[in-house]
């Protein structure tokens, strides 16, 4: 393979093919996509992609979410979890974010971390202005399962009950969910948590692995 060192767009020094650029010689020979060659990769790739989606929809494969930026709503009829932590914090928006408004780009949030969580009738919606991106899962007999679930919420409501709760710890000394907050910040933790009719407004959610049986992703006029 006669490849020249990396060419850049500005100076236009390209790896010359034998006949390229000969103005008098008629046509220069260009590189081109050969359909059959592309199909060699495209067909197995399509099969694998279809397999991934089916596996996800059936809940056999965990999917990792790491979205945020805009506030979004998460609801569930019931949340059961083991290893629960909660502490306050501050999230920073991107420089000159259009969502900043008069907040100076900072949002006061409550970080909740749950080591292992099971959610029934999970619903997540993001307001995109005019329409909502709606994700529902776990409506059937299989429930949504999540590990290392961390949510930065501005609002959280529901009927909660805790086992072995410790309130007033320093956020840097938390142990139940394996996440530590900043030093000198109020926090609480519990062995188990159960929240019915959960409703959260989240500013940033990061989760470990989500298992989403009965996944449905669609646009909708109404949020959760």
């Amino acid at each position: 393979m006669a490849s020249s060192p990396d060419a850049t767009a500005s100076n236009g020094s390209t790896p010359e093919t034998p006949e390229s650029g000969s103005a008098a010689g008629g046509q220069d020979r260009r590189g081109r996509v050969r359909l059959r060659r592309a199909a060699v990769m495209a067909i197995p790739a399509t099969a694998v992609a279809a397999g991934l989606m089916i596996a996800t929809a059936q809940g056999a494969l965990g999917v990792q979410f790491a979205i945020s930026g805009m506030p979004f709503t998460v609801t569930a009829t019931e949340l059961n979890g083991t290893g629960f932590e909660q502490f306050g914090g501050l999230d920073n928006m991107a420089e000159d974010s259009p969502n900043a408004g008069d907040t100076g780009g900072q949002v006061l949030i409550v970080t909740s971390a749950i080591k292992n969580a099971t959610l029934d009738h999970l619903c997540q919606s993001v307001d995109l202005g005019g329409t909502n991106l709606l994700i529902t899962a776990g409506s059937g007999s299989d429930k949504v399962q999540a590990t290392d679930l961390t949510t930065d919420s501005t609002e959280l409501s529901g009927n909660a009950s805790f086992n072995n709760i410790e309130i007033g710890n320093d956020a840097s000394t938390l142990t139940k969910a394996g996440v530590q907050g900043p030093k000198g910040v109020f926090s609480q933790q519990a062995d188990t948590v159960r929240i019915a009719n959960l409703r959260q407004t989240n500013y940033a959610t990061t989760a470990g692995v989500f298992k989403l049986p009965g996944l449905k992703l669609r646009f909708s006029d109404q949020g959760c």
Binding site: A7, G12, Q27, R32, L61, Q64, A66, A207, G208
Partner: protein, 137 residues
């Protein structure tokens, strides 16, 4: 590409770009790069939060970043396009699991199509017939 096509300078630039494009799987590399970028844009969790999670959270950023690099390498080092496109397709499919369902499917699709185009690209092909006719006219 600069749009002003009146001076000889910009004509030369256009020609140079055309020749540059003809010698590499341009659309393949571009689509793969865009796919990686799109997936990265859908991830806005602060790095602090990602570090809380550890390896699993990091993979969500690692895969699209490598996708983006593969796309750029296909453009600027087309001799190795087979390896980059194979890596690109595996990463694109992997982002379904690690990164917001492949950037809500859009980035996955861009990356997969780009990788396939780059894989199917061959240098030094005969000109298309359409091109031939135009040159003879």
């Amino acid at each position: 590409m600069s749009a002003g096509a009146r001076t000889d300078d910009s004509r030369d630039l256009r020609d140079a770009f055309r020749r540059w494009r003809a010698n590499r799987p341009f659309w393949g590399g571009l689509l793969l790069t865009l796919g990686g970028a799109e997936i990265l844009l859908t991830e806005k969790a602060s790095l602090k939060v990602v570090l809380h999670i550890g390896m699993q959270g990091l993979a969500g950023y690692l895969l699209p970043t490598t996708m983006l690099l593969c796309g750029l390498l296909i453009l600027f080092n087309p001799a190795q396009r087979l390896f980059y496109s194979l890596l690109g397709i595996l990463l694109s499919l992997g982002t379904w699991v690690t990164s917001n369902l492949g950037g809500f499917f859009v980035g996955l699709l861009l990356g997969a199509v780009g990788s396939c185009l780059a894989f199917g690209w061959l240098p030094d092909q005969k000109p298309r017939r359409r091109l031939l006719r135009r040159e003879h006219a």
